[in-house]
């Protein structure tokens, strides 16, 4: 078993109508429940606020941001356990964010066996 992180990207989900939000939440709950029952969820993670601060460089300059394209903003993360990368990718395909033009970035977590 290896660990992966799913980074969810997409436009602001709170811009939907309450009815749409409710439907979308239901779908997420179903997806999460299935992953959890099969033992794939290491840590459910959190949604993220869409903006915060970005601290940069030696000067440690602080900027508002991130100012990426709306669809490129990470708005949540989850830690997943899967056999390997193809398996993790397969698991990510059930994510409801894909139905509304979002994306899931699947990244293996680097762990050194000591």
């Amino acid at each position: 078993m290896s660990e992966f992180t799913f980074l969810f990207r997409g436009s602001d989900p709170t811009a939907q109508s309450p009815e749409e939000m409710q439907k979308s939440m239901q779908k997420w709950l179903v997806w999460f429940k299935e992953l959890g029952e099969k033992g794939h969820i290491k840590y459910p993670g959190h949604p993220l606020e869409r903006t915060g601060k970005v601290v940069k460089g030696k000067q440690k300059s602080v900027h508002d941001g991130p100012y990426a394209e709306a669809k490129d903003i990470v708005n949540g993360f989850t830690l997943i356990e899967a056999e390997n990368l193809p398996h993790a990718v397969e698991l990510s395909k059930g994510c409801p964010i894909l139905e509304v033009g979002g994306s899931v970035e699947v990244r293996p977590i680097r762990i050194l066996d000591m």
Partner: protein, 423 residues
């Protein structure tokens, strides 16, 4: 929640209150996606809304003037949090709902607008749901709500429920709005659906809230609540297993909700104090005569006719007159019933009402004139407002052709036409 926040922000900031609720809701759903729905979601939402309210008040304190009567409390950081905390306490929320209910029944608003506003602000129905219940378009309802909210926002403050004189003056309008709300659910033109039953429940919930308030618990409020309980008791039997509308006469009375029936009769007894006799008293009394009859043929039609006689004196309407004629037919036979219908002065106002020709058809059928009856039922069919009414009337047209033995199959009908109440 909007009601409470409007108390915090002031009625002129109604839109802000709605935004905060929507925002709290959306934020909560985002978190629940990841963490699952908590055990007590409404408490969670309330807490989120409360915190958002505090944020907004802090951020905009200088830019806005919030509820004028709370102004000083909300201005100082020392009193802000406890003041908001108190406003969100359970008791305060009940008062907020009442205050909002009375504010929605602004006399400058048309009655349909008042009802739409109550459904939207107090019951949390979306414009779509309201449109489906009123058989209207989403756009029309949205426009109606927006306009009503604008008008509401021009008032400086919410209705003061602690002022007895104003309370008593506004109470009849509140009764009427709740009555309409219930009737829309019970007799409305849209097809029988979940939203319709919910309208009835919301009306009953708000009426119960009114009964809890010392100034609200008047004989008329008791009568209105009794009427709602007695009618709602029949809801389970109104549609049979195959989804067909069933007339009051053919309903399986064992399906009537006994608890609601008993509650309705208890409330009606409580309504019988003082010298005030409202139409709600009379309609509840009629409903209680039906409720007390174990079988349709046991119904005390003489009592019902005399109650309708009084109702005609108190609040005459062509639909009341039609219902009275049907009761007369039950008591004295179809000929007398048809004569009574003939005597309705303003029966041209019933032209668009499907149960007017249906009643004529039923009575003609009962005196054995199938051909004329069939014509009436076809006319009724052309006026039917939803698939259920259509199916019911088709079956009656069929009954004329087959020469079925006449049944007493007249649907219970509302005592008001849609839109008539405003006259």
């Amino acid at each position: 929640m909007v009601a409470t926040l409007t108390r915090v922000f002031g009625v002129h900031n109604l839109a802000l209150a709605e935004d905060v609720v929507q925002d709290a809701f959306c934020r909560a759903l985002e978190v629940w996606k990841f963490r699952g729905v908590p055990e007590n979601p409404s408490a969670w939402l309330l807490a989120t809304a409360k915190n958002r309210a505090l944020d907004v008040l802090r951020r905009q304190r200088t830019a806005h003037t919030f509820a004028p009567e709370l102004g000083r409390l909300l201005d100082s950081e020392w009193t802000l949090a406890p003041a908001v905390e108190e406003l969100f306490a359970a008791n305060a929320i009940k008062d907020d709902l009442l205050r909002m209910m009375f504010s929605c029944c602004q006399p400058r608003l048309a009655e349909e607008a008042q009802v739409a506003l109550i459904l939207n602000i107090l019951c949390g129905f979306s414009a779509n749901e309201i449109a489906s219940a009123f058989v209207s378009s989403h756009a029309a309802i949205e426009k109606r709500i927006t306009r009503a909210k604008k008008l509401l926002a021009t008032s400086k403050r919410l209705f003061d429920v602690a002022a007895p004189a104003e309370f008593a003056a506004r109470l009849p309008a509140v009764h009427r709005a709740l009555y309409l709300l219930f009737n829309e659910g019970y007799h409305g033109a849209s097809a029988e659906n979940a939203v319709r039953a919910e309208l009835c429940h919301e009306a009953m919930r708000l009426a119960a809230l009114l009964l809890e308030h010392p100034l609200g618990a008047t004989p008329a409020t008791y009568a209105l609540s009794a009427l709602m309980c007695l009618n709602a008791a029949r809801l389970p039997a109104r549609v049979d297993v195959s989804g067909k509308l069933t007339s009051l006469f053919d309903q399986d009375r064992s399906l009537w909700d006994r608890k609601l029936k008993a509650e309705g009769i208890r409330l009606l007894e409580l309504a019988a104090t003082g010298c005030e006799l409202t139409e709600y008293h009379l309609e509840a009394a009629i409903a209680s005569v039906h409720a007390r009859a174990p079988r349709a043929e046991d119904t005390d039609w003489a009592a019902i006719v005399s109650l309708y006689d009084t109702l005609m004196l108190e609040r005459p309407s062509p639909v009341v007159a039609l219902n009275r004629a049907i009761a007369i037919a039950q008591r004295d036979g179809p000929e007398r019933g048809l004569e009574a219908i003939d005597a309705i002065e303003d029966r041209d106002r019933l032209a668009g009402y499907p149960f007017y020709p249906a009643a004529l058809g039923e009575l003609e059928l009962r005196r054995g004139r199938q051909k004329i009856a069939r014509k009436h039922f076809l006319a009724a069919l052309a006026l039917a407002r939803n698939p259920m009414e259509r199916r019911f009337l088709q079956q009656r047209v069929g009954a004329c052709q087959r020469g079925d033995p006449p049944q007493t199959a007249i649907l219970e009908s509302a005592n008001r036409l849609q839109g008539e109440v405003t006259s």
